[in-house]
Amino acid sequence: MTAKIVTFGISKGGCSKSISSGITSYLLSKKERVLAIDMDGQGNLTSFLTSEYDICNVFEKRTVLEAILDGDARKYIIKIAKNLDLVPANDFLATLPRLMYENGLNLDALQKALEPVMEDYDWIIIDTPPALSEHTVMPLSTYSSAGSYAVVMFDGSMFAYYAIPKFLEIIDGAKERYNPNLGTAGILFSLIDARAKENEIMEESIDEEYPGVRFKTIIKRKAATRRLAITGFDENPELKNALEYYIPFVKELKKRVKQEQPQG
């Protein structure tokens, strides 16, 4: 079966892209085969899934950067769990645009690197940096016959509110030029402070502006989720608590990508 591609993004930092893509990868891998791809040079998804923080040395020349330049991701896949693999990233991913230019690569370079593994997974989950750059645009430009989707992260702030239309523009651009199969899976709220009085106004504003696009599930940030980066998933006594909001989100995501997508 060909992999469905889900890219987590928004042009604002701190909206839980890495945590959300990491937990989604973990939850999906319970029943299906998942390849997580870190397209952010900060390597937070890499650290989150591997518990390795010395990413520059440990993953030296074994990252998504080399996978893209080689045009084949297979050599750069590392095993995380039974059904969960990862193509890691480290700080050297900053050199990607320059190297792409030097090597005459276009925005379909990630697509080419992933083609050899597209049939090996049910899901490809991609984390992106908060920027309009190759790192963000290439995942969105990656076509899959099973469908490519974007999850737009939103933290409830004004900065993120104004970043949404910009990210939707990137989705439109990628869809128009490279990936006609790209859809917006939805806008996912990941609230920093669930008690903030503006949250309700934000929900209403998003619903008015992008009707039907917002995920019904709202992620309320909690310490147990944050501690996953320290404690990991295995034998974690607070795992259920940490995943509380993500379990319904993943169910909703799966449901959404199986049906016709609302467009942002």
């Binding site: 230019y101 276009n106 309009l132 750059s133 645009v137 523009e169 990137i170 439109d172 651009g173």
Partner: protein, 147 residues
């Protein structure tokens, strides 16, 4: 860019996302241009390689012919000029195109040449050396006599 399209650009500015994607369109065009240029250069290189030797020989011969003609025309003038210069008189004369080179001279000749040249202007030393070598090579029959 026409005035109309310039105004249109000001009214309808492309956003950052469009500019980003457009930049890759430009890269594609540049890449195509580069490929075409490379192909053209390769073709030219092949032609050059085939004709290189002949062409260079031709150029050398051509230059030699030009030089002979040029030198014949100018030799009389140089001769008169240097004669005047050696005798202590100074004549204003137009400079001619030369090729830069260097060589070792015998010290006594170098001193004498420098003395003569010091009375003239920049380039007179070269003229004197050229005149001397030309005269010798004509005598040896290496080059055609200028008159």
């Amino acid at each position: 860019m026409s005035n109309k399209s310039s105004l249109k650009d000001k009214i309808k500015k492309p956003n950052a996302t469009q500019t980003f994607f457009n930049s890759y369109d430009n890269v594609d065009v540049k890449k195509e241009d580069r490929k075409e240029t490379e192909i053209k250069n390769n073709e030219e290189d092949i032609i050059k390689n085939e004709d290189e030797v002949a062409s260079e020989i031709y150029d050398m011969n051509d230059n030699n012919i030009d030089n002979v003609v040029d030198n014949k025309n100018n030799n009389d003038e140089d001769d008169d000029y240097l004669r005047m210069l050696a005798s202590g008189n100074k004549i204003k004369k137009q400079k001619k195109k030369k090729v830069f080179t260097s060589f070792y001279m015998d010290p006594d000749l170098a001193v004498e040449v420098d003395n003569i040249a010091s009375r003239g202007e920049k380039g007179d030393k070269s003229k004197l050396i050229n005149k001397a070598i030309r005269s010798l090579l004509e005598q040896y029959g290496v080059i055609e006599k200028s008159r």
